[in-house]
Amino acid sequence: MIELTHFQILSGFLFAIGLYGVLARRNAILVLMSIELMLNAVNINLIGYSIFMNASESHRALGHVIIIFVITVAAAELALAIAIILRLYRNKSSINTDDINIMKW
């Protein structure tokens, strides 16, 4: 029987993996992918809560609504991010995040 806890654990793991990816990866695209992973962790969490929530229909539906918005926003964000990273690539010929530290301290 799948319970809320399973959702939560999965979501937590996914979130943590995503976070690890963000911190450990040096390729900007992979970093973006990791962020996507984190957002999906959020979605799984929401689904879990939404299913097992002890509340009215409309409140349970809110979870799904949020998920749809998250997916949309994530897509937009990714598109924007890739556009910006592309710009960076044009100028620097690199998307390694280690290379982008002109500005520091």
Partner: protein, 634 residues
């Protein structure tokens, strides 16, 4: 306003005001004259005229006051100057016999000295300024002797010091004059600090600055003995500073850097006597502190002998006179230490006149021999400058104690007073001092005027009348004033009784004879050493070379002070300044600022510029805060 509103009393407070007005007029007209007239010299005589008029008026008013005192016994008059809570500080004057005598002395000598100065200072660059300071000094000195409360007295006391400072430093372009002025002010300042502490201590105990009220309270025994003793001692230290008593005597010889008339007025007759006057004035509470009286006597004695010895070996005529002044001030203090107020004041007056005479005479000498002061470079001047010589002799003889000159009577009184106190050892030592005093007087009077005239002084001649007239007046007085000791008519019962009705005039023939013999021996010795050259001064000095050298170097006291100021105080000041800079400022203040800056430099390395660091900071921050919250809430 107090009772006793007599004319004399009102005349008394006008006297200092006249000089104050003169001071202001001169100071302002100096600028105005400079402003409106291109040729300032045309109006240069304005200053002495104003100043002398004021002092002359003062001198005339003095007679009014004197008459008043003879008839009504003086009194006091005052007005509020400052009221702060419980403390009421008043400006007031107090006229009694001592103060009236002092007024007479001060106005009279000031008058003569100022007249003399017209001749002496002619053509000086700061001619007007000179008279302005003289007027200022006269104001302060007259206030000092009239003041009815200690604070007012202190007020005048310091202003007198200022006058002295300005006059010593009158030729400030001479480095030595500038240094001497500074030395005089600072040395007396040490005494002043003590005096002020003493005054405030008395105020703390009595709640008043008024001298007679303080006496009243002190006599009723309401003051704690220790505090009374210490405040009396402190007041005496103040007096020591001003009267150049050992160990504060160092400034007075240096003060001779000022113009000679200044030395005559301030550093012989008036200001230096202020300390004696103060002790005499405060005698009632001194008498309540016998230990301090002993100290007064001992200090007086030390100063008397010790300055006398230095006067004997100095070569500079003004320095000799200066040490002689110190020595005589010591004598007065000694006498005060035995309680002889009348004798001390009498000697003060006699000495004041005689010493003023001597200084003015020395000035006259120097004036005509292009400011030479070394007595060994003078000689045989009695023919060239007969009036100066004669008057100088009279002054010297008076101070040496040759009858019937004034000094003889005063010295007699002093000795008598010491004897009365039963201090036989002191008496014996005093006699030695008297002998010394006669000896150096002989030396200073004989060396310049006898012997042969040095070549470079061949052109010297008698000074102008404006200079010698005051000399003659002073000489006359110096010869005659001694008789004041005797009862003159019904209103005047003799000096001692005049000052203090309890005292009586008396004569001890053996004492008179003893002192005459001593003086004569000294004079003859002097004659034989310096004129007849029977005994060589050099041989005597080689007889005890170290002593001679020591005395010639003023017992190394000046050097010691110089060392203390230069090496100790100044160095200490530099150390404090260094400490301030290096420790407080650079280490603590700048250090804390720099450490903040450095910590910022250290912290900024976290801002690596790498994306993952930033992400990690967020992740760690968020989880850290969560954990922290968890911990804190449980």
């Amino acid at each position: 306003m107090d009772s006793n509103n007599t004319i004399g009393l009102h005349a008394a407070w006008v006297i200092p005001l006249l000089s104050a007005a003169a001071f202001l007029i001169i100071v302002f007209s100096m600028r105005l004259v400079g402003f409106f007239f291109s040729d300032r010299n045309k109006l240069a005589m304005l200053a002495p005229i104003v100043s002398i008029t004021a002092i002359l008026a003062g001198f005339i008013l003095f007679w009014l006051v004197l008459l008043d005192v003879l008839n009504f016994d003086g009194g006091s008059i005052s007005m509020a100057w400052l009221i702060v809570g419980p403390a009421e500080i008043r400006w007031g004057i107090f006229v009694d016999k001592i103060s009236v005598a002092m007024i007479g002395l001060v106005t009279f000598i000031s008058l003569l000295v100022q007249v003399y100065s017209i001749g002496y200072m002619k053509g000086d660059r700061h001619f007007e300024w000179y008279f302005a300071i003289h007027a200022l000094f006269a104001t302060a000195m007259l206030t000092l002797v009239l003041a009815d409360n200690l604070l007012f007295l202190y007020f005048a006391w310091e202003l007198v010091g200022l006058g002295s400072y300005l006059l010593i430093g009158f030729w400030w372009e001479k480095r030595s004059a500038a240094e001497a002025a500074k030395k005089a002010f600072i040395t007396t300042r040490i005494g002043d600090v003590c005096l002020l502490i003493g005054i405030i201590l008395l105020f703390r105990e009595t709640g008043t600055f008024n001298i007679s009220e303080i006496f009243h309270i002190a006599e009723s025994g309401e003051i704690n003995n220790a505090i009374l003793n210490s405040s009396v001692l402190l007041i005496f230290i103040g007096a020591m500073g001003k009267s150049a008593q050992f160990p504060f005597h160092v400034w007075l010889p240096d003060a001779m850097e000022g113009p000679t008339p200044v030395s005559a007025l301030i550093h012989a007759a008036t200001m230096v006597a202020a300390g004696v006057y103060l002790v005499a004035r405060m005698m009632p509470i001194f008498e309540l502190a016998p230990e301090i009286m002993l100290i007064v006597m001992i200090i007086g004695l030390i100063t008397f002998i010790f300055a006398g010895s230095m006067a004997l070996v100095m070569n500079d005529i003004k320095k000799i006179l200066a040490y002689s002044t110190i020595s005589h001030l010591g004598l007065m203090m000694l006498c005060l230490g035995t309680g002889g107020v009348a004798a001390a004041i009498f000697h003060l007056i006699v000495h004041g006149i005689a010493k003023a005479l001597l200084f003015l005479g020395a000035g006259s000498l120097m004036h005509s021999i292009s400011n030479e002061t070394n007595i060994w470079k003078m000689g045989g001047l009695r023919h060239r400058m007969p009036i100066t010589a004669v008057t100088f002799f009279i002054g010297a003889a008076s101070l040496a104690g040759l009858p019937p000159l004034a000094g003889f009577f005063s010295k007699d009184e002093l000795l008598l007073s010491v004897l009365h106190d039963g201090q036989y050892v002191v008496f014996a030592i005093t006699l030695l001092g008297v002998f010394l005093s006669a000896l150096y007087m002989a030396r200073v009077a004989i060396v310049p005027f006898f012997g042969s005239v040095p070549k470079n002084l061949a052109q010297s001649h008698e000074s102008g009348s404006i200079i010698w007239v005051p000399l003659v007046i002073l000489a006359t007085l110096s010869a005659g004033v001694g008789f004041l000791i005797l009862p003159l008519g019904s209103t005047y019962p003799g000096w001692a009784e005049f000052i203090n009705p309890k005292h009586h005039f008396e004569i001890k023939p053996w004492l008179m004879i003893l002192s005459i013999i001593l003086t004569l021996i000294a004079l003859i010795l002097g004659w034989s050493i310096y004129v007849k050259k029977l005994v060589s001064a050099k041989q005597i000095s080689q007889f005890i070379p170290y002593l001679h050298k020591t005395i010639l170097n003023k017992y190394y006291i000046d050097d010691f002070y110089q060392w203390v100021i230069d090496k100790c105080i100044l160095t200490f000041g530099r150390l404090v300044a260094l400490f301030d800079r290096v420790v407080i400022n650079d280490t603590v203040v700048d250090g804390s600022a720099i450490s903040i800056y450095l910590s910022a430099l250290k912290t900024r390395v976290f801002q690596t510029g790498y994306l993952f660091t930033y992400g990690a900071a967020m992740a760690i921050g968020a989880s850290g805060l969560t954990i922290l919250w968890w911990v804190l809430l449980d």
